[in-house]
Symmetry: C2
Subunit: 222 residues, 2 copies
């Protein structure tokens, strides 16, 4: 609470950077998505399944954020698309400047879909606009149905909730309907897909959502 | 990064408050533990199993932090011990002032063990001393073995790692030895217990660790 005044200044500086990024993404017809979740909800696995489902001709790139390690970039680079790790050394979120730097040297004209994997954190990333077209919140069935109520900001700001690790449902006390009800209490218009990166259930729904986003983007550009 | 100067000021103010809390805990012979984890790692379930294992005569109290909802306090209050929810309205961690306020009106002379459940976040809580004797990091087997490497600060600062949700091991690709190796790479002296709040495996180890902490505390007082 004590840091509100400076936080406001940092956020308005970030908003300026994010507006610049958004303009660059629009100029190049890039759909940018910002994936946010708690640590271990399966963002990287979802991106792995996504990249392996795409034809090598697709114009996709990934920026993946972590405090330490290049592990996620290594996991994601195997699929042949441009992937870059942002290790921010201790910050609890990605911000606009980190994205600007992450994009340095990349030919934006060659990218149509930019997937940003944020630092694993359900709180702080919700305050930082990265110039994305939409935030996507990933939540796993191991986490408890009340997470949307406990961390409302990120569910309110996300266009889509991916309810992941569906394969674990038989082994955890988790009520899917209650979780989705809670998400809609916070954000009535939130879209929801249910996935498992192990059994691949629901991945087609996620990919269809991505394709709709891509086609709407092109429509906007034309 | 931009907020480092103010952050330093906020943290030194917090250190002052934490030193005051630590002095009060010492004065009253209270063992205070600060439980930190990602959202959904099972901190509240671990506290439920802990409280139900204790005799009603034990002098235990719980402060449980969340951004929104009183859900956790409701879950924990059933066991008959004093429990208070701290809802901080949007902050990504608990700080010393929130603990001071949380304790208001409680008779500290009647408490021997104070369990603080932090906001679900592996990053920010590691920077905020709450006057605790030790931080305890809870990690679930659904989260991936590399979490200690990706979020090193909290593993470095924790005296104990509770590796939780052991019952899910047959259903997730998780290597316990690798996770523990990673935790020890970051913090060679970290103690580790493995638990399941569903099957109750390992709870005796956790309770024994708590009892050792209690007895050492008494020895220090005498």
């Amino acid at each position: 609470m004590e840091r509100l005044p400076l936080e406001r200044k940092v956020l308005s500086e970030n908003d300026r950077l994010a507006a610049g990024l958004r303009a660059r993404f629009a100029e190049h017809g890039i759909l940018c998505l910002n994936l946010v979740s708690a640590p271990g909800s399966g963002k990287t696995s979802l991106l792995e399944r996504t990249l392996e489902s795409l034809a090598p001709t697709e114009r996709v790139a990934v920026l993946t954020g972590d405090i330490q390690t290049e592990n996620d970039a290594k996991r994601l680079a195997r699929y042949g698309f441009p992937v870059r790790q942002i290790t921010n050394g201790g910050t609890c979120h990605l911000d606009g400047r980190m994205i600007e730097r992450g994009l340095e040297g990349w030919d934006l004209a060659a990218i149509e879909l930019l997937l940003i994997e944020n630092v694993g954190n359900l709180v702080c990333p919700s305050s930082y606009d990265l110039g994305e077209a939409a935030k996507v919140v990933v939540m796993s069935v191991t986490e408890g149905e009340d997470k949307p109520l406990k961390y409302p900001s990120i569910f309110f700001k996300s266009k889509l909730m991916v309810l992941n690790k569906l394969d674990l449902l038989p082994y955890v006390p988790f009520d899917v309907a209650a979780a989705e009800h809670n998400a809609r209490q916070v954000h009535p218009e939130i879209e929801i897909v249910r996935t498992s990166c192990q059994t691949r259930v629901g991945l087609e729904d996620w990919l269809a959502w991505l394709r709709r986003g891509m086609s709407q983007r092109v429509a906007v550009q034309v």
